[in-house]
Every structure is written in C-alpha cells, then in structure tokens.
Symmetry: C2
Subunit: 228 residues, 2 copies
DNA sequence: ACCTGAACACCGTTCAAGT
DNA sequence: ACCTGAACACCGTTCAAGT
C-alpha cells in the first residue's frame, strides 16, 4: 500500500465500535487510541468525535456490544435461569477477554446495560421467593459476584506475557515457610499458576471455570437457605 | 557505602508510594501521572525511574500498601474467619476507594499478594473440610467472588460526578415496558441508584454492604453444603 | 451533515550528563 | 548512588475550516 489515505471515507457508530473491538481483541485494551482507531478506519482522528463525544463512550459501546444478548429465556425455572445466565456471561468474556477490565472496572459500562438481563434476573429471584428489599439485595449479590468473578478471572495481564511476573510469583511462593504456611507449602503445586494472587496468566490461558461453577452453586444454596 | 553528603532532594520507594496514594485518594486514579507525582515530591519526573522501573510498578506498590494486613487471626473458626476477612477486605477499599480498579483489574496486583491472606484462607477452608482439588476451587471461589464484588461496588465513576450518567440511567429505566418488564417497573424506586447497571454513583456514595453480607452468607452456605 | 487540518496541553520512557 | 535535563514518540480533545 503506497497510499494510505483514501479520498473520503464514510463511517458509522457501528463501524467504529466494531473496529475498536477488533483492535482490542488483537492488540489489547491499551492499544486502542483514537489515532490508531482512526487509521484502521482510514479516517482522520477527529472524525470520530462526530459520532462519540469521547474515547470513553466508544469503550462503553464496545462493552455493551460484547454483552448483548446474554439474557436466557425467561420461562426457565430459577436455578437453570441463573446457571444459563452465568454461563452466557462468562462465554461473552471468553470470546473477548481483553474487554474484561471495561465490564467491572468502569461504572458506565457496569455489566450489561440490558433491560432483558435486569428483568430476567429479577424474575428468577422472584421465582426463588424473594420480594421487596430482599429482591434488591439478591439482585446485587448475584450481579456483583458473577460479573466480579469473571472480571477478575480475565484481569489484564501486565504486558504481553511478562516473564518476570512468573518469576515474582514463584519467588513469593518459595518464601513460604513450611512452619508458618503449611497449607500453602503442601498445596503449592496445585495452587501455583492456577489460583488468584499466585498466577501469572489470566483466564485465557488458565481458565477457572470450576471455581466459577462452585460459586454459582453457592449462590443458589444461599438463595435456597434464605427464603421463607 | 557512599559518602553521606546532604542531598538536595531525597526520596524513597515508600515516600513515592505514599505520595502516589495521596494523589489517587484526592484526585483519582487518572490524575496520577509521573510528572504530577514528581512535582508533589519536588523532584524531576525521571528521578522516579531510579526507584521503580515503570508507572505500573508504582500502582502495584500502592495496591499492596492498601491491602496490607487484612488477614484475620488464624485461630478463628472458619466461618468467623471468612466474615472477618471479607469485612477487612471491604474496609480497606472503603478507606481508599479510588484504588479499587487496581485490585481486581490488573493481574499484577490481583488482590493482596500477601502470604498471610493465602495461608489464612486455605486454613479456614481446610477447617471447613476441604482438601486437595476442592481446596483450590474453594480458594478461588471465595477470593474471586469477594474481591470481584468490592471491585465492582467501587468501580471508577465516569468523571467527577457526570450528571449525564444519571440521566441516561433514569432514561433507561423509563424505557421499561410494564408488560414486558413488570418487575423492573414495580421495583424501579428501590432499584434506581442502588443496584448494578441502574446506578450512577459507586459504593462511596451508595454502599452495597447488605448485598455483600448476603454474598458471604451464600459462600458459607455453599461451603457447608459441599462438604462430606 | 460529515470530515479535514492544525494546534494545545498533556503523556511515559530513554538516555546522557551531572554530582 | 541518585538526580537533572533534554528529547522522543506518543496521547485525547478543541476549534476552525472545508465540502
């Protein structure tokens, strides 16, 4: 390509969102700058400001796009509804792991701003027997725990597989004293690289689906115990 | 041992970390630039690179500093240990809410890189009857759910109390159709501003301690149900 | 309506030089 | 050992101008 400028390119909110998602998928969240995004669209950086007031609004649109359509059918019994919702939520992040920090980290794009998700979760909890104030607390418990977990599971890695993080984590574990930290010492092999604080890769390379399933079981157990 | 000539401006890792935390507390996470931090310490920006290899490492030090010492005494029964740990974790974030995105969002500073926390949690779960692979999954469940929840609760607000977010959220709720979204419509008053997706302030102004308590109850219920 | 183009006020980081 | 100073390669955003 000798010429990288085309005469005049037309663009749209959806095209911008899709191009932004592609950059985030391929190069990570911090690679998305207005200038690079504009170049990918063969447009001047300032043209983007006609469609979005600021970079943050593009990120919000990306987050909503990734989270769209995760609400299960509303005729499911409440336990299967919760399990399906949890699975859909995690699957959406698995498809686009680099957007994970956007979901939980920023208030604007907190979870899916989707009426079907809200109503669906309220419906499931309502079928579980919750009403009024209990319904609100149950909603926040489930949403906070599930979105929070996957956000953490797919937390942003340092920078392109930093080998020093692995060294630092193994060094941290090596400092464990068998007398003061017996369980850590005994289970070091099973924990290293596979558990929070002691890992150097995120859920893309070390998935935590089993712990996530246990969390859903616990939430359901808690809801069953809490009803009249 | 170098000769101790009186330096004009001397600084240390701890001083840098403390000054960084102060800026984050007062002006928010995005206000922390190397240049501003250096100015607060009356030093040239590049001086900081003698103590930290990069900005990210300063953020990691801040996160660890905030999370230091949250492990409860290890002689507690497992349920009180979990409740105290959860309370200490949230209290640490309440003291420094602006660092919340650092805790869950970045792999390097995922939760507290603290051996006492790891050993303590393993001990509590072990006293709850978990061993081997179950112990690892339980550890990840509790850590991911609790850290994830508070990270979400104190997610970064858009920018200095953006009033348009409030408008957008109320507008979203207004679009709820009483026929298709009956529960959302009926509970709109209780949900608006107080629940995920439908709020415009984070936990600093709208705490979600009750939902957090319910989450801990559920985790304990799940652990009790899951043991032999 | 939609985009270009220049400009402003910032960034993190590297490298050489000073002491 | 510890800091200054200049420089590089970037940023997001504003505003005026073009069509």
């Amino acid at each position: 390509m000798a010429e990288k400028r085309k005469p005049r390119k037309s663009v749209s909110r959806l095209e911008i969102t899709a191009a932004a998602l592609q950059i985030i998928d391929n190069q990570g969240l911090e690679a998305l700058s207005m200038r690079r995004l504009a170049e990918a669209l063969s447009v001047f950086p300032t043209a983007l400001y006609w469609y979005f007031p600021a970079r943050n609004d593009i990120l919000e649109a990306v987050a909503q796009h990734v989270m769209a359509g995760i609400a299960p059918a509303s005729d499911l019994a409440w336990q299967p509804w919760l399990r399906t919702f949890a699975a859909n939520l995690r699957a959406a992040i698995v498809r686009h792991p680099n957007v994970a920090p956007l979901i939980g980290g920023q208030l604007v794009s907190n979870a899916a701003g989707d009426l079907e998700v809200i109503e669906g979760l309220l419906g499931a909890l309502s079928r579980a027997g919750l009403t009024g104030e209990e319904l609100v607390q149950g909603y926040n418990m489930v949403m906070g725990a599930l979105v929070g977990f996957v956000t953490q599971e797919f937390a942003r890695p340092p920078e392109a597989a930093d080998p020093s993080l692995r060294d630092r984590v193994t060094e941290l574990a090596r400092r464990a004293d068998p007398l003061r930290h017996p369980l850590l010492t005994q289970n070091a092999e099973a924990l290293l690289g596979r558990s929070f604080v002691l890992r150097w890769q995120n859920g893309q390379h070390q998935p935590m689906g089993k712990a996530y399933d246990r969390l859903i079981d616990s939430l359901i157990a808690g809801l069953e115990a809490g009803r009249p």
